[in-house]
């Protein structure tokens, strides 16, 4: 097998603060083949956005980064250190969640797209504007000629997100990272946007990373899904595998929080009891244990190593769900009415129908 287009190895990101060092990302590894789509799923604070921003070289200078990130045979971190030009925006680019804020309010839409083209591709202003207009058409914006000279505040949220996408695609990037691209737009346009991204990806043979807190969004679009929790990838596999046969109790909980998994969710995740852990000086234990229905005393003693089939289905859990070991642990906790760290545990109302 050829080298994957993107390969992240043991990525660790720390932020020193006055209160201590924040372990935002901890030993994250994954690969992405060209033309594929990877979903990174997790709650706020799971490290998914930090991971994306590491790839995009958007982290504050105070961030301490370890591990390697290779893209098309190029060392991304080295490129960042060298301040390489025409890499981001051309090789890879990113779309942010809120189209209201990702467009500069004081510049015309066309101008914002054109400046990228002018800078990276060296086109003249008028050529770039013409290309911008063309791009706007490609992302399905009606009357692109008019939109070019409009300001962002004159467009609706959905149109704005399309402008952002057009902007991101301006220089034919090989990899697009979409960070919660639909959370901030109207429910009715969410699917349109996602479908647009999907079709654009296919048309252009572009790779994509879709970052979301909503497993439902990932389903049916992503080839692979990585679930992140507290800075680590807790489970990673092909999408269908994950949906059919998840191993990590956290994934399990996420799946259970989606009422109708075959439809894109427009509801927020039902809260999993408890809160994500502090990332400053975390205890040496499974980070999910305090909230885990399966947690056993050994979960509080060591951090579980990744297991399973490398590159196919990996997970990091001492008592994986949907295994005998997991079922035993769960049964014990349900019987005890609490898990190893004292969280109350009751049986599910219905049996999981996976």
């Amino acid at each position: 097998m050829a080298d994957p287009q993107l390969s992240v190895r043991d990525l660790t990101v720390r932020f020193p603060t006055t209160r201590g060092t924040v372990q935002a990302v901890n030993g994250v590894s994954f690969e992405l083949e060209q033309g594929q789509m990877l979903g990174i799923v997790g709650e706020s604070g799971s490290g998914k956005s930090v991971t994306a921003k590491t790839l995009m070289n958007l982290l504050p200078r105070t961030a301490e980064i370890e591990g390697s990130v290779m893209f098309d045979g190029q060392d991304v971190r080295q490129a960042a250190a060298d301040g390489r030009d025409h890499f981001w925006g051309v090789e890879m680019t990113m779309v942010f969640q809120d189209p209201m804020t990702s467009l500069n309010p004081v510049k015309k839409c066309g101008e914002q797209i054109a400046e990228t083209i002018r800078y990276h591709l060296g086109q003249s202003k008028s050529e770039a504007l013409a290309m911008a207009e063309d791009l706007l058409g490609q992302v399905g914006i009606p009357e692109p000629g008019k939109r070019v000279s409009q300001y962002p505040h004159e467009l609706s949220g959905g149109l704005r997100q399309r402008v952002v996408i057009a902007m991101a695609l301006a220089c034919q990037p090989k990899l697009l990272i979409a960070d919660e691209p639909t959370t901030a737009v109207d429910v009715t346009v969410q699917r349109h946007i996602l479908n647009l991204l999907d079709s654009l990806r296919e048309e252009r043979g572009m790779s994509m990373i879709l970052i979301t807190h909503d497993l439902g969004v990932a389903r049916g679009r992503c080839d692979d899904v990585a679930v992140m929790y507290a800075g680590r990838i807790v489970e990673r596999s092909a999408t269908e595998t994950l949906f059919g046969d998840s191993r990590h109790p956290y994934t399990d909980a996420l799946l259970r929080s989606i009422p109708r998994i075959d439809q894109p969710s427009h509801t927020r995740l039902d809260p999993i009891p408890g809160r994500p852990p502090e990332l400053i000086n975390p205890p040496v234990q499974c980070a999910y244990a305090p909230r885990c229905r399966y947690a056993q005393p050994d979960c509080l003693k060591s951090i579980p190593e990744a297991q399973g089939v490398e590159g196919m289905h990996e997970f990091a859990c001492h008592h994986p769900a949907n295994t005998d070991q997991g079922r035993e642990a769960l049964a014990a906790n349900v019987a005890a009415g609490r898990n190893a760290s004292g969280m109350p545990v009751a049986g599910y109302a219905g049996t999981g129908g996976f």
């Binding site: 921003k53 995009m56 070289n57 958007l58 200078r61 030009d85 025409h86 890499f87 981001w88 925006g89 051309v90 680019t93 990113m94 779309v95 942010f96 809120d98 804020t101 990702s102 467009l103 500069n104 309010p105 004081v106 510049k107 400046e115 990228t116 800078y119 990276h120 300001y151 505040h153 004159e154 952002v164 902007m167 991101a168 301006a170 220089c171």
Partner: protein, 337 residues
């Protein structure tokens, strides 16, 4: 837009009234030589000589000493100065003159106030413009550099420096700079001169620096704070994700949306500077609005004081109006609302 202009015009007129009435009242509170003179005449005329003279019963040259002190003279001055009118009547007549385009005449030099204004105002305007160019020219790159690496070495040093600059009273700075650059090093003239534009520019340079230094620190701090906020905005991340170079992002993306506080304070200061250069103009012997105003107040020259104060206040209102228009340029959202 039209409504805004009309509203501003109304405000301008109201402010003009408020300011001129206050000025008129306070300048008329001051003792004037004239009042003292008449008071002295009245004091000496306890035995009613003036009445006798008015009645034609007495030869006026023999009374009250010198001929200027004679009753006729005093009566004439009183009449000519409307000193028997109340302050409202006198204010009214001043307004009438203004309305007919007559700013009056200086009570000492007897020059037309309009011609004094015509001489003085351009000098002060040039000084203010230079000051602001210097202040903005320093503050913008400085603010950008500080915000670019906020809370790092340069920013910390510059924060410290800006506090220092803010805290030097400008008269103290004026004295020090005048001494160093004017007298010791002799790089710049020690007084205003205007043999050609270059010469004038040179002579206004140190005064402009003096005024501009504190301002640049003020501006820098405002710009830095706003820039740091802006730099956390998504569109900045977006621009970086697009691979735009940092310089481009700082100047083309972050700067303009971060200029609201700066522009507001810039406007206020421009207005304030028109009337705030007086100490500096006095120290550097610049024949501008401020110095003339100080001298006119001290020598109690009401027509000059009134006209100058009115012009400065009008300038303040108008500049703030322009700043409001500038908001529109800065942010299209303001424009359309």
């Amino acid at each position: 837009m039209r409504q805004l202009i009309l509203q501003r015009l109304a405000l301008l007129i109201l402010v003009m009234f408020a300011v001129t009435i206050a000025t008129f009242a306070s300048i008329n509170l001051s003792d004037t030589p004239l009042k003292n003179f008449i008071a002295a005449g009245a004091e000496l005329d306890t035995n009613g000589h003036c009445d006798a003279i008015r009645a034609g019963e007495m030869d006026d040259t023999q009374q009250l000493g010198q001929n200027v002190g004679d009753c006729e003279y005093i009566d004439r001055i009183k009449a000519e100065n409307n000193l028997d009118d109340d302050i409202f009547t006198r204010y009214g007549s001043w307004l009438g003159d203004i309305a007919s385009g007559d700013l009056g005449t200086s009570t000492t030099s007897r020059l037309e106030v309009s011609s004094i204004l015509k001489d003085r105002l351009p000098i002060t305007i040039r000084l203010v413009v230079m000051t602001q160019i210097i202040a903005i020219g320093v503050a913008v790159p400085w603010g950008l550099a500080a915000a670019y690496r906020a809370n790092r070495g340069f920013d910390r040093v510059s924060t410290f420096a800006s506090f220092g600059l803010l805290s030097i009273p400008n008269f103290a700075l004026a004295v020090i700079l005048l001494y160093i650059f004017g007298i010791r090093l002799q790089w710049f003239p020690t007084r205003y001169s205007n043999n050609g534009w270059y010469d004038e520019l040179k002579s206004l340079f140190i005064p402009a620096i003096t005024l501009g230094v504190g301002l640049s620190a003020t501006y820098q701090r405002l710009l830095r704070t706003d820039l740091i906020t802006t730099l956390q905005d998504d569109f900045v991340h977006m621009a970086r994700a697009k691979g735009m170079p940092d310089r481009h992002i700082m100047y083309r993306h972050a700067l303009r949306p971060s200029m609201f506080s700066l522009v507001t304070v810039f406007g206020v200061n421009t207005g304030a500077l028109l009337g705030g250069t007086l100490v500096i103009e006095t120290i550097f012997s610049i024949p501008g609005v401020g110095r003339e105003l100080v001298e006119a107040v001290i020598r109690t020259d009401p027509p000059v004081v009134m006209a100058f104060v009115a012009v400065i206040a009008a300038g303040f209102v108008i500049i703030n109006f322009l700043v409001d228009l500038l908001y529109g340029w800065l942010d299209p959202r303001v424009r359309s609302s």
